[in-house]
Symmetry: C2
Subunit: 233 residues, 2 copies
């Protein structure tokens, strides 16, 4: 294996290890020693890949979370995906949350703010814009209820979704995430969808979030996530 | 002033100082030295009141946040306050968030989890139950839309509210909190209130969250919050 390819692979594996530690302990209580132990490595070896230490690890996890999330969603959050596109996108994120510790760690890190606050604000603004674009398309198709602007629906969706997965983790250790997501769409569609499209959208949501919910993947990652060739150029 | 009263006052003042530091820096990056500096004191003097250091400070801030929040809400979240009681309760929390750094610090600490995770879960479960009780009363008055259970409305409200104030802080530094709260109620009432009561509830929400939003109090506290005689027995 060429040297550079191996370095990319090694770096990617370190990010996975860091994510497991950050997810378990949060930024505050994670140490480079923990990350090294999780990766079966040494802090000395780790500094080679992340010279700025814990902080650069956190940024790398957030970057990776963002990349994987956008990869899963870019086909759903488009100007012509309509209201159902947002529902499908939320299923994509829910499934990523359950399957991938990097996603859970990245979101946890962005909510812990501190030195990462500026990046967090940018990250959420980008989400608001992507959702707004999709709801604008929904509006053109006549799918929005009167009085609900694309901007209002975008903020409603992101607020509710953020609080929902937090509560699901805190109160139920993720076990009711599909139920909670369906409940969310019954509220968001119930208020924000036009009467003409409401029943169809509710049916779509019910089908997408039909039990059984996939199991929570605590420790390992789906194979494709480990493939370094999936890294961005 | 009697010695014990003075000790209570001193402890209370230390909690305020700790809250300002936790709010600014989060649990991870706060130190006892910072708290001592904020309180014009020394770490030695502080240990007298909080022998277990930073962790016991965090728990004290969370306890105080909880006490003040419950004090503001206990008259609204009752079995006969109805749907409007939940709307008024949310205004109470929104106003506390803007006015009181202890509230903001407490919520921030509960969301950072880690060693506080067990208390956080209990805290949120208590909220879900208090909201459910109130929505059950709303159901008896015929205020709930068909198909929305008190439990579903309770989780919807807490999820949306939690995500809403987080997003408001991250994206707008709290400046649009009243707008966001009104938007939230347009969604929750739009979906969850019965047709018969919808218009009246929307009017109530519009009046309660009418601009101007009170200014964000960054540094000091309303006088009554500082009164140590307001401490629980």
């Amino acid at each position: 294996m060429p040297k550079q390819r191996r370095a990319i692979e090694r770096r990617s594996a370190l990010i996975e290890s860091a994510a497991l530690v950050f997810e378990r302990d949060g930024f505050a209580e994670s140490s480079l020693t923990d990350i090294a132990r999780q990766a079966d490595s040494t802090t000395g070896a780790i500094y080679f890949y992340f010279p700025a230490g814990k902080h650069s690890f956190a940024l790398a996890v957030i970057e990776e979370q963002k990349r994987r999330t956008l990869e899963a969603l870019h086909s759903e959050l488009t100007s012509d995906a309509g209201f159902a596109g947002v529902v499908r996108a939320s299923l994509g994120v829910v499934d990523l949350l359950l399957a991938d510790p990097v996603i859970r760690a990245g979101i946890r890190l962005t909510l812990e703010q501190n030195s990462l606050a500026t990046d967090t604000a940018r990250f959420y603004r980008e989400w608001i814009e992507a959702l707004e674009l999709t709801y604008e398309g929904a509006g053109r198709k006549g799918e929005l209820a009167e009085g609900f602007t694309p901007r209002a629906m975008s903020r409603a969706t992101l607020s509710y979704f953020t609080g929902m997965h937090l509560l699901s983790e805190i109160v139920d250790d993720w076990s009711g995430l599909y139920d909670d997501a369906l409940n969310m769409w019954r509220v968001l569609i119930g208020a924000g969808a036009s009467e003409e499209h409401r029943a169809t959208l509710l049916e779509t949501a019910s089908k997408l979030f039909q039990p059984p919910q996939p199991p929570l993947n605590r420790r390992s990652l789906p194979a494709r996530m480990k493939d370094p060739s999936a890294q961005p150029a």
